[in-house]
């Protein structure tokens, strides 16, 4: 029973990792941009959520109504003003610039919020639970997982069923020819980053409800996100969800074997999958 519980809790934890990873997957899929600052942007969203809840006295989930559009706006501006200048044939400039952005974000958060760990108070949602047969499920992990499935499903629908998704895929396929179709790639990339950071906002709020956070934890969230994306296969959104679940299960099962092995087990599973299937379990398939 302990094992089954570990697998179920790990699956739910995987929902949070999938939320970390979805934005990464999306921007890599559209513009081949690897965003080193992604984890710090998740933490930024958590702090924006904290400020909103403290200043307005609202529930963290209500803060989503402000933080999601704010992060989307930040994403669009960041892409148009900074990141578009770094895109081209070479993969190094975007890596260096987003690495620099990561350093700037961490220090700005440190300056603005100090290094003290913070947490958002979601009231009874944090402790509520319900029984499923012999298992006890926390309401927050279940909600997080359901939101992750909803977000991935929504992104999938947007990518394959809407004109905007068509524009994302076309621009990803061939930027020159997409321009000939009247698509301004600078704007399309801006929208992709806005969407990615809107998802990041959701990830940041759920992170900030689940655990305490401080300005330095972005790097760890980035690693979990990367591992989920790569386990699932680059550019495949449902694969990203599966990758998050595999990572989550590996961690909780590892923790059952030995409490000190939680993170190690996740990284080992990631490395094993990378060694056996370098393209991930579900490499990108078209439509």
């Amino acid at each position: 029973m302990e094992w089954i519980n570990a697998v179920v809790q790990g699956t739910l934890l995987g929902g949070l990792y999938a939320l970390f990873a979805a934005g990464l997957s999306l921007i890599f899929g559209v513009m081949r941009l690897v965003n080193i600052a992604h984890g710090d942007l998740i933490v930024l969203a958590a702090y924006l959520g904290l400020t909103t809840t403290v200043m307005l006295g609202v529930h963290p989930l209500a803060a989503l109504l402000l933080v999601v559009p704010a992060m989307a706006g930040i994403g669009y501006a960041l892409q148009r003003v900074v990141l578009n200048q770094t895109l081209g044939g070479d993969i190094l400039p975007p890596l260096l610039v987003t690495f620099g952005l990561s350093v700037i974000l961490q220090n700005a958060l440190l300056e603005g919020y100090t290094a003290d760990p913070q947490k958002m108070n979601a009231g009874s949602l944090e402790t509520a639970s319900f029984a499923l047969g012999p298992l006890t499920l926390g309401a927050l992990p279940v909600l997080t997982f359901a939101v992750a499935v909803g977000v991935i499903g929504g992104l999938q629908w947007l990518f394959y069923r809407t004109p905007l998704g068509r524009a994302f895929r076309a621009t990803s396929d061939n930027q020159d020819i997409a321009q000939l179709m009247g698509l301004n790639k600078a704007h399309v990339f801006g929208l992709a980053m806005a969407l990615a950071l809107a998802v990041t906002a959701i990830a940041g709020i759920f992170l900030g409800i689940r655990t305490s956070f401080d300005p330095s934890i972005g790097g760890g969230r980035l690693i979990f996100g990367f591992e989920a994306v790569i386990i699932g296969g680059l550019g495949n959104l449902w694969g990203t969800l599966a990758g998050g679940v595999i990572l989550g299960v590996a961690q909780t099962v590892g923790a059952v074997i030995n409490p000190g092995w939680q993170l190690l087990a996740g990284h080992i599973v990631f490395l094993v999958i990378l060694a056996i299937r370098p393209n991930g379990l579900f490499p990108r398939v078209s439509g």
Binding site: P163, R166, A167, R169, A170, S172, D173, N174, D176, I177, A178, Q179, L180, M181, G182, L183, N184, K185, S286, G287
Partner: protein, 235 residues
């Protein structure tokens, strides 16, 4: 002289240090079909890429209906009514046949072409509308590429080597359909290595040689000998 839809004025083009076009002066009247011929590397594709905005230039180096467009981005030029059928088709591999056509229509210019008109012209595309564009034969892919350009209802359509890599019978079909496709009011620039095909659908011809115009004139008035000379640069 009838209305000019497109003209270039001392058009240069560069790839880094390499200069591909030297001061081209071209003119295309409204409703005309003009062929651009020339050997590999003469600058034909570069010329079309410059007109379509994939290579930027001085604003007044290219005029479209009198308006300087040389410095506009490609997406702006598409919106003004120029469409390119690119060399090698260059369909979007992650999009289905129908999505490739739909994205061609996203500039939403009014005009006769719509999804149903394209399917009427190329019925095989309707049968395969939900397939990935990569699963089609070369000729069918060329139909999608042409349909994708038509979906924007352009006033000027640029064809780059539409016969390249296709079987002769497919080439014949496409060139048979071409006069209907270009139809009334639309103007066209056709870049082609197959000179006979190019001349058969055009009224005027420019021959490029190493980035310069080596011959121009009405198709009926130019002799084969003149073309050979202009094409190869030999007496």
């Amino acid at each position: 002289m009838p209305d000019l839809i497109l003209s270039t004025h001392g058009l240069d083009a560069h790839y880094g240090d390499f200069q591909a076009l030297y001061g081209l002066d071209l003119a295309l009247s409204t409703g005309d079909v003009v062929a651009i011929i020339g050997a590999n590397g003469a600058g034909k594709t570069t010329l079309l890429r410059s007109i379509a905005g994939l290579l930027r230039n001085r604003a007044d180096a290219i005029r479209f209906r009198g308006r300087p467009i040389g410095a506009l981005r490609a997406d702006r030029i598409a919106a003004t009514g120029i469409a390119l059928v690119p060399e090698g088709r260059q369909l979007f591999p992650s999009l289905s046949v129908e999505e490739n056509l739909l994205i061609g229509g996203r500039v939403k210019r009014p005009g006769p072409w719509s999804l149903s008109k394209i399917y009427a012209l190329f019925p095989v595309l309707e049968e395969r509308r939900h397939q990935p564009s990569t699963t089609l034969s070369g000729g069918q892919q060329q139909m999608v590429a042409i349909g994708r350009a038509l979906m924007s209802n352009p006033d000027l359509i640029l064809f780059d080597e539409i016969s390249l890599g296709l079987a002769p019978i497919i080439i014949r079909d496409i060139y048979t359909a071409l006069p209907d496709i270009i139809g009334e009011g639309m103007s066209a620039l056709i870049v082609e290595q197959d000179i006979t095909k190019a001349l058969s659908v055009s009224s005027r011809v420019y021959c490029l040689q190493e980035g310069r115009i080596s011959l121009e004139g009405a198709c009926g008035e130019i002799t084969r000998a003149e073309i050979s000379r202009a094409y190869f640069g030999m007496e």
